[in-house]
């Protein structure tokens, strides 16, 4: 029986590359392509793929929250997270979200086939950097992982995280309401709750929070003679 794979990445050029890579493998087929997290969740519910490959930095719903929503809907979903960064915090969040695979985009051509094979064999696959982190945490009885953990923050609900991402992406409450099929008043209530829980006072504060907590990812423009920085 064919292994059915759903791809979710906002860059069509990346999806084309992933398709070309995965379709070379006999017995695998791309059953769907999504360009954002919300679309991925909807498509996964309908198509019931064997493996879902999600990019972390997607609009509307990022890859981590996509993973959470997928597994909340069906804990049997097998999700591989694709990322441009392997920071401790992103790794930790991917593991917490329930991803069974974690592959760096730069290594996707090398690792992604192995990752899908691993998940099909009911194993997990993580880039070597994750193995190092997990091992370090084990050897130091959890200190290595917790040492770099962010300070405890009030927990946002899944819906509040969705609203946070959309507001941080610059959408108005009305636009968020349309996207999430809610009333503007409900979105305003979520917005107030988010600001109160996080002790934030402006949308600017919210954007900073979203960046720091991997809810959105941005690229800093590279200036002449300076090193480019990825903010995750």
């Amino acid at each position: 029986m064919k292994v059915r794979i759903l791809l979710a990445d906002d860059h069509e050029i990346v999806r084309r590359g992933l398709c070309a890579l995965l379709q070379k493998h006999e017995g695998w087929e791309i059953c769907g392509e999504a360009s954002d997290g919300r679309e991925a969740v909807e498509m996964a519910k309908q198509l019931k793929p064997d493996v879902v490959i999600v990019d972390i930095g997607m609009p509307y719903l990022n890859g981590l929250d996509t993973t959470r929503q997928l597994l909340q809907h069906d804990p049997n979903f097998k999700v591989i997270v694709l990322t441009i960064t392997d920071s401790d915090q992103v790794i930790r969040e991917a593991l917490d979200a329930g991803a069974r695979g974690f592959v760096l985009k730069s290594d996707a051509a090398r690792d992604l086939v192995a990752a899908v094979e691993a998940l099909q064999s009911k194993r997990m696959f993580f880039t070597p950097r994750v193995n190092d982190l997990v091992l370090a945490g084990f050897l130091e009885k959890g200190h290595a992982i917790s040492r770099n953990a962010p300070p405890d923050l009030p927990t946002l609900t899944a819906r509040e995280r969705e609203v946070t991402q959309l507001l941080a992406e610059g959408k108005s409450s009305k636009e968020v309401a349309v996207l999430l099929n809610l009333s503007t008043k409900t979105v305003e209530t979520h917005r107030s709750n988010i600001m109160r829980k996080l002790s934030l006072h402006s949308i600017r504060d919210l954007v900073v929070y979203a960046i720091k907590n991997n809810i959105i990812q941005i690229q800093m423009p590279q200036l002449r003679g300076t090193q480019e920085t990825t903010v995750a």
């Binding site: 906002d10 860059h11 069509e12 050029i13 990346v14 999806r15 084309r16 590359g17 992933l18 398709c19 070309a20 890579l21 985009k105 730069s106 996707a108 051509a109 090398r110 992604l112 690229q219 423009p221 590279q222 200036l223 002449r224 480019e228």
Partner: protein, 138 residues
Amino acid sequence: MAVRILLVDDHPIVRQGLRTLLEGRSGWEVVGEASDGIEALDKIETLHPDIVVLDVTMPRMNGLEACRLIQKRQMGAGLEVLFVTQHDSPQMMREALDAGARGYVVKSNAARDLLEAVEAVSQHRVFTALAQIPHAAC
């Protein structure tokens, strides 16, 4: 004669995606790939492409620096540089054009804009397209 294209991006998966898109077009040939600016300069010397499709953010030597060196060293008669980058900003686009590029396409829209951009650049016309701003070829 086929338009010879060199693909330069540090992510093999992106190069594969670009290749898939470009190879469907008759009269165009992807003659090679490079994963950073230094490798790109080497391959320009050996492969003699007509167009270099260049990423901005790469290890060792970024695309802007490579583009400036291509101009400074006057590499390849009629060689054109087309940036394909995730930087969707007028500032970065200006910097790319100042470095000597003939074209600028945002990666999120590459599937939509790349073919038109290569077509324009192969005829030595400027092509720029930010994600939110209509493209211009002149």
